[in-house]
Structures are given as C-alpha cells and as structure tokens.
C-alpha cells in the first residue's frame, strides 16, 4: 500500500506499530515533514490511544497494521506502511521543526505527552562517553520508550548499528544475538540487568559500555555488573521522559557525588529543592500535553523529577518518589490506581498502597486496608475478604499492579491537608 511521504507534510501523526523497526523507520522518514509524531508504546491501552488522539489533535495514523491503535475507533486517516513510506521525487524539504510526542511512563487517567524535538532528544550530550569507530548499540528497552529511543537516536546520530531486543524473547537468546553481533554499548533498567545476571548467559556478550537507567540503581547490581563485565564501563544515568537525560555516574558507586550539584558540563544544571532532584538542560521537554495546565519547569527552567534524594556523607542517594509512585521493574505504578480498585470492595473502608523494596524488581506494590466496622461486625474473615480483593485486582489491574501482600490495619493516618499520609516508596 504505502503512501507518498509528501502526503504527510504538516500532519499530526500517531505511529502505531507492531514492530519496533517500522516505528524507527517512520520516525526517520517523518522528522522534518510531519507537524508532530506521537509514538505509541507497545502496551498502550485502547482508552489511552483514544484520549491521546484527541489531546494531540492527531489527524493521521501511520501503522504497519498492528500496534495499540489497531481496533481503536477513530475518524483520522489511516496510512499503512510496509517497511517504508514511498520516497518523494528528489530530496524532500525537511524544514518542519517536528514535535516528537512521547508518553510519560506511569500515567493514570489520560496519558501525559512530553513534547520534544529531535534537538531536545539528541541535544548536546557532552557526557564524555567515548564511542569508538563503528559502535554496535543495543538496549533491553523497547525503542518506543524514552530509554530505548535514546539509544536508537545515538545510533542514528552517532553512527554505528543497532541490535533490537524483542518482547518475549528469552534473555539468553537475546544475549547470544548481542554477542554474535558484537554489541559494544547496551542499556537497560536495573531490573533488566538483574535478569541478565540470573540468566547464566552474561558471558555471551562482551560490551564495553553498560548503562542502567529508569530505576534507582543499588550497589549490588553495580558490583555484580562490574564483575560480569570487567572490560566494560558501567554507568547509571539519571533521566526521565520529561526532564531528558541529565547526567550519568561512572564511578561504580550507587547515588551521585554531591559535587555534581550545580553546573554539569555546559548544558546541564541540577539542584535539590524540597528534597527532590531538579534538572535544567537543553534536553528537557518543551512542555507536557495533558499536565492539567501545570508548567513543566519552574521560573528558572528547572524540572522537578519527583525523585527524592538523601544526602549521606558526600553522596546523594535515591530515597523514593515524591508522589509515592512505585517503580516495579521499570514500570511505574500509581498507588491511587490500585487503591481505587481495592476500595470497590464493600467491606473496605479505606486502603493505602505503597512500595516495598525488592532485590529483583526494585520495588513491589503492597497494600494495607482498613475494614468497615459493619463488615467487621458480620464476622467475615479477613482472609476471605483478602481473596475477594485479590480477585477484583486480578480482573482490573496489570500483573505488576496487583498488591503482593494485603494487610489489615485498624486505621490510616490522614494529614491536615485531608490526604492520606504516604511514605516514600
């Protein structure tokens, strides 16, 4: 089928693909042509697709026939592409400053869309990462997420080739492919790397640069990776979809040196205010669509990452998320989403979901519930109620959102603001 590229000039395009490669090709071809491109993540729900179409004023969907927009009713034009769009006559004019819209992770309700440009995504990295000739990049991330897209763009802009991972592929098989293709630079979340270390297949590849991002990084994972890949630089990065990549830490220690506060290189400044890490850089998103009118950055251009950091000695360590977001293996979970489901059980008076640290996935969700006095009076056992709550959760939540433990407590503290008191997850 295909479509001439020129037909997409000035359009607001949603890219919904089954395959990562088609998405990568569409991004390449549409940058400088389309008004905006919204990249669907593979697990985007049909409701999120619909609201994103409205909020981002999408008028065209580019698809390989699959992806999350499949089967979603919409009145936009649908353009099918095979491996590429039909090239224009001659060299196309790529003067449009295309907006790249990326879903921020862990969205409740309507998705929030961070508005970037190619410039803010690849913005001067200046991070001293030494990339030798012909690097081979790879990532455990899907390239339709910020973490994976960063690596794809490094490969596009900096040269070299790239090995894509694939959902559902056994870790050992992926590591064999990475090894066979001589991957030199590879990124993933600490949870991806823990799985790698548990695969007994770590030695199938021999990268020179191992990067961790997307979750707090503990000392054990850094030490284990250094042991597994003695020839590699092991770095952990501080980045978010909204704030962009801020900096990475390569001294093999968890957290970051307090000496980094202030200016890092030419383009990045960081500071800690009200306990959370703030970032100002040329890689910050321009704005966020669906952020309820809240500005992304403060008057001085700093974005609040929401990451609470604690100073111990001469380093800052990650201590949780401001709004209690729980990061389960790189997938962000909002306690409120889970509490809303638990609270549907008639015997539940109120509930609180929080994160419990896990050496495997970084964190897991756990719940505390207060039972209604009337239900308690009926003599129904808590075990029975707990099983019913779990049943509700299984029907309505993703596996990583289902609380691992549900504990009964007599009351939950409410702050003067009228809000549930939450601990940092």
């Amino acid at each position: 089928m295909g479509a001439p590229l020129e037909a997409l000039r000035g359009r607001s395009v949603m890219i919904s693909t089954e395959r990562q490669l088609t998405a990568a090709l569409a991004l390449c071809e549409l940058d400088g042509i389309a008004r905006r491109m919204l990249l669907c993540t593979p697990d985007m729900s049909p409701t999120h697709v619909s609201s994103a179409i409205t909020d981002a004023e999408i008028d065209t969907i580019v698809t390989d026939g699959g992806g999350p927009a499949k089967n979603v009713a919409h009145d936009t034009s649908l353009i099918f592409v095979g491996d590429r769009l039909k090239p224009c006559e001659g060299t196309p004019d790529r003067s449009v400053d295309t907006e790249w819209l990326l879903l921020t992770s862990g969205t409740t309700g309507r998705p929030k869309l961070a508005v970037h440009t190619l410039a803010s995504l690849v913005g001067p990295l200046n991070d001293g990462l030494v990339v030798q000739d012909a690097p081979v990049w790879s990532t455990f991330y899907d390239i339709r997420r910020y973490g994976g897209l960063q690596i794809l763009l490094r490969a596009f802009v900096g040269g070299g080739s790239m090995v894509l991972s694939s959902a559902g592929e056994p870790v050992a098989d992926f590591l064999s492919r990475a090894g066979a293709n001589r991957v030199t630079h590879i990124s993933g979340t600490p949870s991806h790397w823990r799985r790698t270390l548990m695969s007994a297949a770590t030695s199938r590849m021999n990268p020179r640069y191992v990067r961790l991002s997307g979750e707090a990084c503990d000392q054990a994972i850094l030490d284990n990776l250094r042991q597994a890949y003695p020839d590699a630089n092991v770095a952990h990065a501080f980045a978010s979809t909204e704030a962009g990549v801020a900096f990475d830490v390569r001294d093999g220690q968890a957290g970051f040196p307090a000496s980094l506060i202030g200016q890092i290189g030419k383009d990045v400044s960081i500071r800690v205010e009200d306990g959370s890490l703030r970032i100002r850089s040329s890689r910050v998103a321009d704005r966020v669509i669906g952020n309820h009118g809240r500005a992304l950055s403060d008057a001085e251009g700093y974005v609040d990452t929401g990451d609470i950091v604690e100073l111990r000695g001469d380093r800052y360590y990650f201590a949780g998320r401001r709004e209690g977001v729980i990061n389960v293996g790189g997938l962000k979970v909002h306690p409120e989403t889970i509490e809303a489901v638990i609270n549907q059980h008639p015997a539940v008076h109120m509930s609180r979901v929080s994160g419990r640290s896990s050496p495997i996935t970084g964190a897991i969700a756990v719940a505390e519930v207060v039972i209604n006095p009337s239900a308690a009076a009926c003599g129904v056992s808590f075990a029975a109620i707990r099983n019913e709550i779990l049943g509700l959760c299984r029907g309505r939540l993703a596996p990583h959102e289902i609380p691992v433990t549900i504990r009964e407590i007599s009351s939950l503290e409410i702050a003067a603001s009228g809000k549930l008191v939450r601990r940092h997850a």
Partner: protein, 81 residues
C-alpha cells in the same frame, strides 16, 4: 519444615496464583527457565522474607545473583545457617 521445602512450596503456590506453568523443579533448573518471570521471583522473595525473616538477595555482602533453583535455595540455607 526445611527451608528447601518452604521455598519449593512458595514457588509452586506463586506460579499457580500467577497462572504460570512451572518446569519440573530440580536443583539444576535455571530460574529464568522455571516458568517464573521477574515479578514472580520478586513475589517469592518477598514471601520468604515474611515467612523466614530472610532476604539474602538484599544483603550487603551478596556476592552473586542465583542462576539455578539450587543456587537460590542455597542462598537461603546459608543465610539461615
């Protein structure tokens, strides 16, 4: 009940709760081929922490990640010793 049997019981229970098909449980079975995904293993670890008061994977002197089910069980047996 021995630590080994508690672990095997938990693994079986959580696989069933999460709707995962378990491979036959032997010491040589690689954990990642057991049918449990990372989330399941995280749940097993949290359950064992509650039941045994042991969380060897989170301990500071943890030297390596377990590869096989046997490694995993040994971590807990050593932590209890």
């Amino acid at each position: 009940m021995s630590i080994r049997s508690i672990i095997l019981e938990r693994v079986t229970m959580i696989a069933e709760q999460q709707g995962k098909q378990l491979a036959p449980l032997t010491d040589e079975l690689p954990l990642l081929n057991s049918g449990l995904d990372s989330l399941c293993i995280a749940i097993v670890v949290a359950n064992l922490d509650d039941e045994l008061g042991l969380d060897p994977l989170s301990s500071d002197d943890q030297s390596a990640f377990p590869v096989t089910l046997g490694d995993f069980i040994r971590l807990y047996e050593d932590a209890a010793a």
